[in-house]
């Protein structure tokens, strides 16, 4: 076996440190990116919620709330669900609310009851895509309004940036590692000559 001198040891350690730092940096950047994009989309949905709530009829009658949700959902391009404080669904834009299961166990609904606003990202089996759910508590009406929107826009931006990020984060250190390899080889050779 070939003996490993100090220069090669330094090279291996340098490469490991560089790769680990690069990966950690990338993971932090990616998490921050997702958080920021989700934040922007949540703001958009909350603004829509405020507009819809202004016109929301003060009733628990599904026969009135379902068509209201359907009409407003189509205009805004979102799914709207009106939920009573006990979890009963009284209005729904995409299907008939009558007979729907109680929504009290949904993360965003629980958070809305305790904090006023709750958000959650879940995979929708029906649509085959991640959905952002934003629920807001309407204290004066004793209800919760939940708007959901596909994460397609966020995912498209995230995908594009991730590809670029991966290439940038991996190609840059690879160049550094290759340059340092030849430098280490040159130095190791010199070291051997002097010995």
């Amino acid at each position: 076996m070939v003996r490993l001198n100090r220069i090669w040891k330094l090279y291996v350690v340098y490469t490991i440190v560089l790769m680990v730092c690069m990966i950690a940096g990338g993971l932090i950047l990616q998490a921050k990116l997702r958080e920021t994009l989700e934040g922007h989309l949540t703001e958009e949905v909350l603004a829509l919620t405020r507009v819809i709530v202004k016109n929301l009829p003060n009733t628990d009658d599904s026969a009135i709330l379902d068509p209201f949700c359907q009409a407003h959902g189509e205009i805004a391009g979102v799914r709207i669900t009106i939920i009573k404080a006990d979890g009963t669904v009284v209005g729904e834009s995409d299907r008939k609310s009558m007979g729907m299961e109680k929504h009290l166990d949904r993360t965003e609904v629980k958070d809305a009851i305790s904090e006023g606003v709750g958000t959650s990202v879940r995979y929708s089996e029906t649509l085959g895509i991640d959905m952002l759910y934003v629920a807001s508590l309407l204290e004066d009406k004793g209800k919760i309004i939940r708007l959901s929107m596909p994460m397609a826009k966020v995912k498209a931006v995230e995908d594009r940036i991730t590809i670029f990020l991966t290439l940038a984060l991996y190609l840059t250190p690879v160049v550094a590692i290759i340059i340092c390899f030849f430098f280490a080889k040159y130095m190791a050779g010199k070291d051997q000559e002097s010995n």
């Binding site: 490993l4 291996v12 790769m19 990966i23 990616q30 990020l165 991966t166």
Partner: protein, 307 residues
Amino acid sequence: MWKVASGIFLGWGLGGNDSANIFGTGVATGIIKYRTAIFLTAIFVVIGALLEGPKCMATVGELSRLLPIAAFGCTLAAGITMAVLTYLAIPASTSQAIIGAVMGAGLISGSADFSRLYRIVSCWVLTPIGGIVIAFFLHRLLGYLLEKWVRSIRYRNLFFSIGIIMAGCYGAYSLGSNNVANVTGVYVGAGLLSAPMASFIGGLSIASGVLTYSRKVMMTVGRRIVPLDPFSAFIAVLSEAVTLHIFTQIGVPVSSSQAVVGAVVGVGLVRDFRTVSVKMLAEIGIGWVSTPISAGLLSYLIIRVII
């Protein structure tokens, strides 16, 4: 259920190839008989797959939402890629092949999730690094403890023999728990199998590869690691097992071959020996790029033809 056949084929190939990283050293040095080694490997692979296999299933399944027929195409593409690259003597990883294939299939359905890819690729890069770091510290720590407590040569040799067998069993367990997702994870994502059933079928298919197709590779790999002394060989196998087990907890399937190469480099750092050639590292680099890309292209073509 015929759609699972390509997954079983992939598992069989994986078992035949990757079992060598576990008991290769032990068999080549005569510490353990080949037959005993393959039986122990098969048993612990299945146990690992059953107990912890589902942890990595989600990563493979959620990367793209596939139809059952597309899942069949993916595993078939990954299996063919592995066979061809192995024939061309390019070190290929099943994890990289299946992820490439799933991404290729996801491009057709429009469900490829590139945002999850960075985490997976990072884990691939961290696998040999993890092997290096763990081997370096384990070698130092256990070396110090042995020096202090076990002075007799006879007892030391006994420790190495038992250690290689136990590390091998742990390695087989880690291999089963981490790599079973490569074999049947896509079927869970496609809704064809439940996670426990996928773990069971995947575990058995890897075990079948170990029992029927591992002799040649085990001897080759074993001889490649043999220049290490018994203690270093034990550390290399143990470090590989720990590395794989850590990535199982993270939920990302990684390459056992790259973990063992990292571990061998780590041992070399302690002993001041260059244990891996630059050529071998360059081949791993080529494998990192060529395996997922070729599996992705093949999967894209196969699924275009069959759907």
